[in-house]
Amino acid sequence: MFAFIVSRVLQALPVMLTVALLSFAMFAYVGDPVAIMLGQDYTEAQRTQLISDLGLDQPFFVQFFKFVVNAAQGEFGLSYRLSRPVADLIAERAPATLELALCAAALALAIGVPMGVYTGLYRNSWLSRFFLTFSLIGVSLPTFLIGILLILTFSVWLGWLPSFGRGDTIRWGWWSTGLATWSGLKALILPAITLGLFQLTLIMRLVRAEMLEVLRTDYIKFARARGLTNRAVHFGHALKNTLVPVITITGLQLGAIIAFAIVTETVFQWPGMGLLFIQSVGAADIPVMSAYLLLIALMFVTINLIVDLLYYAVDPRLRIGGGKGGH
């Protein structure tokens, strides 16, 4: 087990270093931070002073090393656009994005799994056909258009739900949550559906395919032969065995959800990290962009690692292989 974890972490390190290098190269070579920080009036002495203060006169690898050490401590410098520490900006915005992403994932699971089970069990019913058509449309609809259609229907025409912002939030230490207030919950509904719809259709199709496969196996036939009720066979035996890939895919998709939150947050003006990032892209705010890039990479690598460990915990065949397997 230990050796497996170590080998996985060792594999993740080069990925993180590559991303850090890219992110540093962006930081160092795109735009001119000195010119931006100095403004209009400066003397040559001030300029030289600032360059040596920032360490820009040092060799590339020394600078890169400093960048990595700083980044590891959460230090990314000041945002060009807002003149505030990047770490503070991100810490402020992170709760909004994480709440949105987790709610979207929970929604996708809570609705996608039952729909998948149903379409797997009753393949030819008209409701199954309806679900499948619905999922095809869900895959072809771009996220931002789903958001616009939902806003048009539920905010503009019906006037039931708010179309932008997070509603009232409550601060909980450094974490701000919208889940504790009525208006916060109402504001969460449309963005969560928008973000979760694609994942929902994905999970539904996956559960359906797995169910169809499992239902054909011998142990299901045996369970039926033993005279177990349909309920016990379907949920106790069949569904349980489909859940492993579902959990894995959902875990891996969590990264995609956070990335796609950029689009959803733009449509709903949701004050999360995605909106911060897109505003930074528009304003060429390199420190925020490179910090976000590193953060997302770290998240992806961590999620991949956890998923690998889950595999390891769930599938005994991997343990015999001494952790050489993977996927």
Partner: protein
């Protein structure tokens, strides 16, 4: 002439044509895709109005609802936008930009993907390991994120006027470059199978160079699956472009694509002018859905195992 007729007859007799005519959904989506692409390509000649001809624009005509509603104007079937541009014509011109970006981006992904895949599969060894590792790293990041980053970096590195001029190419590059690994993987897989076949060994025995074998002998035999992925990727690239333009980092507003039109219309959603954003949205969905259905069919038709 006789030869083309022969080829035509052979095509009408082929399995692919047979499976095409047997699937009504495929025929329907082919017709819809054909209409969409035709309408886009021929826009300057068949569009009812020219949305870029400033002389013909009248602010009096702004915000006209679709023709079938009470206040609708029959000359503007789908209504007009905030500047009095005909929505239908704007959609046709916009689809042109969307499809242009989509095609070029796919072309770029295909060329990079094929080059990398062939090299990795045929040369093997360290080249293979390094190239595939890069593809893996690329695959961990969602396309939208990579495209956004590339666009952001270019925006920061170049002055604004220059950026607006080359924005179209930046978008094509950003989408194309973030999509090549799927092609590279497929081509590598097929190349690994092909490289051990007798015709490749024969080519090697007669002393052909490595690049010549790769390009003239292996390449034609691995193109089938590439075609399928390219079709599916076209729908994807069009969506990616629309998303980027919607986020405001795609093509410049002087050449609005479907995504730009949706973004512009989004501002008028709350004042009740829903048609400015909904019709370009429907056009985008119809275009992507029909292309995706065609791609799905092509995948099944070229893969005898699924039949």
């Amino acid at each position: 002439m006789a030869r083309t007729q022969g080829a035509m007859a052979r095509f009408l007799d082929s399995d692919i044509w047979y499976s095409f005519t047997r699937s009504p959904i495929t025929v329907a989506s082919a017709i819809v895709a054909f209409i969409c692409i035709g309408g886009a390509v021929l826009a300057p000649w068949i569009a009812p109005h020219n949305p870029f001809d400033l002389a013909s624009l009248q602010l009096m005509d702004a915000f006209k609802p679709p023709a079938w509603t009470e206040e609708g104007d029959p000359t503007y079937w789908l209504g007009t936008d905030d500047q009095g541009r005909d929505v239908l014509s704007a959609i046709m011109y916009g689809a042109r930009v969307s499809l242009l970006v989509g095609f070029c981006a796919v072309l770029l992904s295909v060329s990079v993907g094929i080059t990398v895949g062939l090299a990795a599969g045929y040369i093997g060894g360290t080249t293979d390991a390094v190239l595939m590792r890069i593809a893996d790293i690329k695959l961990t990041f969602p396309t939208i994120l990579v495209a956004l980053l590339i666009d952001g970096v270019v925006r920061a590195a170049l002055p604004r006027e220059v950026h607006d001029q080359i924005a179209l190419y930046v978008v094509i590059f950003a989408i194309g470059i973030s999509n090549w690994p799927s092609f590279a993987r497929t081509v590598r897989g097929s190349t690994l199978v092909e490289r051990n076949k007798e015709y490749v060994q024969a080519a090697r025995v007669i002393g052909l160079s490595r690049s010549r074998i790769m390009i003239t002998h292996v390449l034609p035999n691995v193109l089938g699956p590439v075609l399928v992925i390219a079709t599916l990727n076209l729908g994807f690239a069009v969506l990616a472009e629309a998303t980027l333009s919607f986020l405001g980092v795609g093509v410049p507003p002087t050449q609005p694509s479907l995504g730009t039109l949706i973004r512009i219309g989004n501002d008028f959603l709350f004042s009740g002018e829903w048609w400015i954003t909904i019709f370009p949205g429907i056009a985008l969905i119809v275009l992507v859905l029909s292309v995706n259905l065609l791609g799905d069919w092509l995948r099944d038709a070229l893969n005898p195992k699924l039949r």
